[in-house]
């Protein structure tokens, strides 16, 4: 199998910007090309990720930003809903040998959209789940309820995720929300959807994310520090929330596929860093368990141990994660960008203490994680 590397990355991210979507898409694309020293003509093709309902009321989103992402007279294409899908598709395009370079772009301008939940309620079917108020937050609240019941995880442990991640975000210039919060402050931050408190829920952010993938030979021409895509896995769960086991889910399945491809047998030992998608604080604990970083029900203990802090043995979300920055569609790809920076030692003030050889990146969408995607990248 051909080896595929991430050669350069770029991001425009934060709460909002006065720039328009069309131009921001251009700027992030331009930045990654400039870093790689390639002209647009030299790029094989483009795979973007965006979602019409998260796209300022403009349908068929990729028609709009087609030329902004350098796609003019190229075989560009688009993935909907989850930007990790775009990474996967671009990866396969290089594996076939048809392309040597593929630009991957994830685009979401949260500031133009209504509240995330005004949109995620449209994931619910119109007959049954939507009229009773289901959306991503209410679904997560019920999942959190079950998680705490099942394993005795405490609200304080869930609040520690916020304390850690928003604290990490203080050092990340691309973060939307950051701050020094005590767990008491997190727990007292307002109960918008019990048992979730306000600070336990991710904000609505802008994230224009770009990366250039290349086949091995080309990658070595572009950069002395290629970061290899070693494994990818994805799995989708059944639709109706009531049909699902919200604590089992499909993440173990997605992770198993990615680890198998990457040849990882003991994730807790072999992985140096994790950037995962935790729009709701407790999900970081549950996802850590399901990624095999600790035992079932031990997510609370894991965070209490300090191991997942920025200076710990297995840092999780040193960027601040999705709790700090949540461009809904591009949040998965942003995890890959952050992990790439860490592997290269380019993360600046939020660079972790020890060298990162292998990192896991995770994207998740749908109610209570109906879909998960996992990528393993490394030196």
């Amino acid at each position: 199998m051909r080896r595929v590397a991430i050669t350069e990355v770029a991001q425009i991210s934060g709460p909002d910007s006065k720039d328009n979507f069309y131009d921001q898409a251009y700027r992030v694309t331009r930045e990654v090309l400039d870093k790689a020293g390639l002209s647009r003509d030299e790029v094989g093709t483009i795979v973007s990720a965006s979602t019409d309902v998260f796209h300022g009321g403009i349908s068929c989103a990729n028609a709009y930003y087609w030329e902004s992402t350098g796609s003019f007279m190229k075989a560009g294409t688009r993935q909907d809903g989850e930007s990790m899908f775009a990474l996967h598709y671009a990866f396969m395009k290089i594996l076939t040998g048809k392309y040597d370079t593929v630009l991957v772009v994830g685009l979401c301008k949260g500031s133009e959209n209504p509240d995330n939940d005004a949109i995620t309620q449209l994931i619910a079917d119109p007959f049954y789940q939507r009229p009773v108020g289901l959306n991503e937050t209410t679904a997560a609240a019920m999942q959190m309820h079950q998680y705490m019941e099942a394993y005795g995880a405490t609200a304080e442990q869930c609040a520690t995720v916020v304390e850690k991640n928003l604290g990490n975000a203080l050092r990340n210039p691309y973060a939307h929300r950051r701050g020094c919060y005590s767990t008491e402050e997190v727990l007292a931050s307002g109960s918008m959807c019990h048992p979730l408190t306000d600070l336990m829920c991710a904000p609505k952010s802008e994230g224009f994310i770009a990366m250039l993938l290349a086949a091995e030979d080309k990658a070595r021409e572009i950069t002395p520090q290629p970061v290899w895509i070693k494994g990818y896995g994805c799995a989708l769960d059944t639709y109706f929330l009531g049909d699902r086991d919200l604590l089992a889910g499909q993440l173990p399945n997605a992770a198993r596929r990615a680890y198998k491809m990457a040849g990882i047998t003991d994730p807790a030992k072999e992985i140096d860093l994790v950037e995962l998608c935790e729009p709701y604080a407790f999900q970081e604990l549950l996802w850590c368990e399901q990624l095999g970083l600790c035992g079932r029900g031990e997510g609370g203990k894991l965070i209490a141990s300090g191991k997942t802090r920025i200076d710990g043995d297995l840092p999780v979300n040193p960027s601040g994660g999705v709790l700090a920055t949540n461009p809904y569609v591009s949040r998965g790809l942003q995890r890959v960008v952050e992990a790439t920076l860490q592997i290269r030692g380019h993360a600046g003030e939020h660079q972790v203490r020890q060298q990162v050889n292998t990192a896991v990146c995770h994207g998740s969408t749908g109610f209570a994680g109906q879909c998960h995607a996992v990528a393993v990248i490394g030196r």
């Binding site: 403009i58 068929c60 028609a63 087609w66 688009r78 076939t96 994931i123 639709y239 499909q250 399945n253």
Partner: protein, 388 residues
């Protein structure tokens, strides 16, 4: 490095106004038929690709979640490809890459739309950004009307000749739809009905325009190993091509239309085709408007620029002609948009597999499928062959 990929199963719904059925059940009808067509079970499928038009068409966001069960993707990897009207061919491209890359052996590709649940015209208007184009372009008919006028002016084609040729194409497809059990619009039209139908957007008249449909299509792609193991006949993917140009309709030439020309060229080069009109045995052209269909003939190299109305009137593209186009009745008679492009791929595969029933063309060895999307902007092609 790219492994050979073939299509082994095709399923589609009865297209039309399907108010008796919920959207997930409609999608499942196509999936069941595709699995039945190649005698596979959901367990045989490694991964699923789905796609549709914008969420606003039916008011459901990110339909991959809603249809997880209908397409039997639970526990499987999924991709969700969306490229506006060209989505059907883009779904097929995604399935092709998934198998060709070696990451899967069997892919279920599904496209779907239930247009009677929304307001398609109002949805299409939202494809345009609100600052500028949305104020002027009231959706596809306006854009296609502009395009056809530029075309006739450029090549000085007399208006009455174009009208005659458009009428010929409309009657051809409306008659063909009677041979397709899945087609939506089945009306017998006289020449006079078509020629003098009410104007929709000058010069386009009622029967020059495709309908709105509810429908879904599922196509099963497999690796060479899998196809050999199953001992199946396959429609092999010989070529793919895709191109897009600027979003702003005024930015590029829509007559000598580079996106269409270069998408076709990319696919022809990959398939080793140098004279498409001679080498192709059938073409399923994405033809929501009769006028635009003729522009595609020219851009795809079926004939020279400005020449297509003459050839249409000579019957070159008729069922018994040199290069039969859209024997299914085409988009003109059936248009569940998210499925429409994949139906083109499915119909081309059925022609190669000799399973096209009453619409079968004899001896099809090479077939072209096509879809178009965006603001007269994006073109995708897939070429299928009987031999690897």
């Amino acid at each position: 490095m790219a492994r050979p990929v073939g299509i082994i199963g095709v399923g589609q719904t009865q297209h039309g106004r399907r108010e008796e059925m919920s959207y997930p059940d409609l999608v499942r009808e196509a999936v069941l038929r595709a699995l039945e067509n190649c005698n596979l079970t959901p367990d045989d499928v490694d991964a699923v690709v789905t796609g549709t038009m914008p969420s606003m068409m039916e008011g459901i966001a990110m339909t991959q979640f809603y249809f997880a069960d209908a397409v039997q993707a639970v526990g499987k990897p999924i991709l969700k490809t969306e490229t506006c009207g060209s989505v059907g061919v883009s779904i097929a491209h995604t399935a092709y890459y998934w198998v060709a890359s070696g990451m899967a052996d069997v892919i279920l590709a599904v496209g779907h739309e239930k247009m009677f649940e929304g307001d398609s015209q109002a949805t299409m208007v939202t494809v345009l950004e609100p600052y500028y184009q949305r104020s002027f372009l009231s959706g596809p008919p306006t854009a296609f009307s502009l395009q056809s006028q530029m075309w006739s002016n450029r090549f000085n084609i007399p208006e009455d000749k174009i009208r005659e040729a458009a009428t010929h194409i409309s009657m051809l497809h409306h008659n063909s739809a009677f041979d397709n059990p899945y087609a939506h619009v089945k009306v017998r039209l006289s020449r006079d009905d078509v020629m003098n139908a009410p104007v929709i957007a000058y010069p386009i008249r009622l029967y020059d325009v495709c309908p709105n449909s509810d429908g879904a299509c599922a196509v099963i792609f497999a690796s060479e190993d899998k196809i050999n193991h199953l001992g199946r006949k396959a429609a092999w993917v010989k070529g793919i091509g895709y191109r897009g140009e600027e979003y702003f309709i005024g930015d590029s030439d829509k007559v000598v239309w580079r996106a269409a020309i270069e998408a076709a060229k990319e696919a022809y080069d990959m398939a080793g085709i140098s004279n498409p009109r001679k080498e192709l045995n059938v073409a399923e052209v994405y033809n929501p408007f009769t006028y635009q269909e003729m522009i595609f003939y020219e851009c795809f190299g079926f004939c020279d620029f400005g020449e297509s109305p003459d050839l249409v009137l000579k019957g070159v593209f008729d069922r018994g002609g040199e290069l039969p186009v859209s024997p299914s009745g085409g988009v003109l008679c059936t248009n569940p948009i998210g499925a429409t492009g994949l139906i083109r791929v499915g119909e081309a595969a059925l022609q190669i597999l000799e399973q096209a029933g009453d619409r079968q063309i004899g001896g099809v060895k090479l077939a072209l499928a096509h879809a178009m999307g965006g603001v007269v902007q994006l073109c995708g092609i897939m070429i299928l062959g009987a031999h690897k």
